[in-house]
């Protein structure tokens, strides 16, 4: 937590991982991220050696059920909210560029 300087490179990389386009007029987000990162430094005041993390507060784990087939959405209904479909599928942007 000591080095929380958010450089341009880190900021751009984070935007890429987030799949977000940050507009020039939103560049102030970078400073706000740095401020938030600075604020949470307060946690360093607390000793957490040998303290386990809590991911889940009602302590349920491995909730399993029999693998029984139940009713689900029809194909038409499942596709009904998509902007682009083709035949009976969702249409997505290409993820593999054949020319490379």
């Amino acid at each position: 937590m000591s080095d929380n300087l958010i450089t341009d490179a880190v900021f751009q990389h984070t935007a890429k991982l987030s799949r977000l386009e940050i507009k020039p007029e939103e560049s102030y987000i970078k400073d706000q991220l740095a401020q938030a990162a600075q604020y949470v430094e307060v946690l360093k005041e607390l000793n957490t050696d040998n303290v386990p993390p809590t991911y889940q507060v009602n302590h349920k784990s491995n909730v399993l059920r029999e693998d029984v087939v139940n009713d689900s959405l029809s194909q038409d209904l499942a596709l009904s909210q998509a902007e682009n479909t083709t035949d009976a599928y969702f249409k997505t942007a290409p993820t593999i560029n054949k020319n490379k």
Binding site: T14, L20, E21, I29, A36, A37, V51, N58, F90
Partner: protein, 465 residues
């Protein structure tokens, strides 16, 4: 009869069953109120209108909520009524199924009159970050209603509905209830199914009621609660039932954490809570000052990290392929939160941020465990201030976290809590008292809140509109 919209759930049920008025008249009364007020107040993103009236015509009023108009926060999926989460990303989204709570409400005969405004994706404590404009506070329209369930709280306070549902991740039921002078009941994490409520911070998201009285909220919670095979984190228990009423609070120890009065606490808020302490003492409770409760400032930091992290994961699904628009439609607030979450989860920062926060979360849970060895329940202000002015959240990247600092610790630990009206400040804005108890002890929260309400008149005040 006029002003049916002003009735409580209890009064509306009695009126319907004794045939003083019909479900159609009751529904029409709420719709009329919305029509006359909501262009300005902006509690609703969508109003169902004719569909609600049609439903009211054929509803069985003998059902637990038969014919009762309800306003639903617009992050609950509702089949055939659009669900936006107050974000343009979902501007045209029609859910293919109902949230578990919506199914239960429909089975109980409730009439959904509309979907209420929230901070976009429930990211905030002002309802000011909604892509559909801010909701105003019915007590003073220059002020914010709080959030994120600001639309639900304002709709109840303004008598646009009889009852409503909101959702809380860290204050989003209790804080707007406090700022709007109504009752907000946040159940134990897992008491009410999260299935079909658009995920924000999954490890603390808790749907719950916002109503005009403690009993109304408890009655609605009975219907909303219960284990759900579609939510693996729901508590494996039958639906919650209201306990017997207590005659007084004798034998109960109630803790008052001194750290819940941070320096920015408005003097009137402190006075109000100390006034409430006197009322509780008169009712027989023993009030114990707690001087060693973990400073809420740590909860702000834990919440900031964990909320952003879970948000960055939960909002990854909004890619515009299966539903909604693409990611260019996200507003600045959502972008800011996704970015910080992605940063704190990414390689090189995970241990320092996410893991550290989850360890401090353990300390917060242990702190409550220790306090509850000394006291049965804990009280305090919901918010350090009354409703702030419109515009207060702008440009403040941690506005919500700081406003919600007194409700974050109990949310992080998954505890039940309630906000009830306990005073007004000098310009007439409501002040909320919160009551918290150990996990699954909604019975204690209810008993204390109900006795406080029965012995005070604050819940009877309504805004002059």
């Amino acid at each position: 009869m006029t002003d049916l919209n002003k009735l409580t759930l209890k009064e509306a049920r009695e009126g319907l069953l004794s045939k003083k008025f019909t479900a159609v008249e009751l529904t029409q009364s709420c719709l009329d109120r919305i029509k006359s007020l909501d262009k300005k107040l902006n509690s609703f993103v969508t109003v169902t209108g004719e569909d609600a009236l049609k439903q009211a015509q054929s509803v069985d009023i003998n059902l637990p909520l038969g014919g009762i108009p309800i306003a639903v926060k617009d992050n609950y999926l509702t089949k055939d009524i659009r669900t936006t989460a107050s974000s343009r990303v979902l501007d045209n989204y029609l859910a293919q199924y109902d949230a578990t709570t919506i199914k239960k409400l429909k089975n109980a005969g409730a009439i959904i009159i509309g979907k209420t405004n929230l901070d976009a994706w429930a990211h905030g404590s002002s309802t000011e970050t909604s892509d559909y404009g801010p909701t105003l506070n019915p007590w003073n329209m220059e002020h914010l209603p709080g959030g994120s369930s600001g639309g639900s709280a304002a709709a109840v306070a303004a008598d646009e509905t009889i009852i409503s549902v909101g959702s809380e991740t860290a204050g989003s039921i209790r804080q707007p209830a406090s700022w709007c002078g109504v009752v907000g009941f946040k159940p134990t994490y897992g008491r009410v199914s999260r299935y079909g409520v658009i995920a924000m911070k999954s490890s603390t998201d808790s749907p719950g009621p916002i109503c005009k009285t403690v009993d109304d909220a408890a009655n609605l919670l009975e219907i909303m609660s219960g284990s759900d095979p579609f939510d693996a984190t729901s508590i494996d228990e039958p639906p919650w039932k209201k306990p017997e009423l207590r005659q007084n609070l004798k034998g109960l120890k109630i803790g008052l954490p001194l750290s819940y009065f941070p320096p920015q606490t408005q003097p009137e808020v402190k006075e109000a809570i100390l006034g409430a302490v006197e009322t509780l003492k008169k009712l027989g409770a023993e009030i114990i000052e707690l001087s060693d409760v973990l400073d809420p400032k740590y909860s702000i930091a834990v919440y900031t990290i964990l909320q952003r992290s879970e948000v960055s994961s939960n909002l990854a699904r909004f890619d515009g392929i299966r539903y909604g628009h693409d990611r260019s439609f996200f507003g600045t607030e959502a972008k800011r939160r996704i970015m910080l979450g992605t940063y704190s989860l990414s390689a090189g920062y995970y241990d320092a941020y996410y893991l550290k926060a989850q360890k401090v979360r353990t300390l917060i849970c242990q702190d409550f465990d220790n306090q509850f060895k000394k006291v049965d329940a804990i009280i305090g202000p919901v918010s350090p201030t009354t409703a702030l002015k419109i515009g207060a959240s702008e440009g403040q990247s941690m506005f919500g976290e700081i406003q919600d600092m007194l409700v974050e610790p109990s949310s992080i630990a998954g505890l039940p809590g309630i906000s009830i009206p306990c005073a007004f400040d000098k310009i007439g804005l409501p002040i909320g008292l919160q009551i918290m108890a150990p996990q699954k002890r909604e019975d204690l929260v209810y008993q204390i809140a109900k006795l406080f309400e029965d012995n005070t008149d604050y819940h009877l005040e309504r805004p002059k509109l």
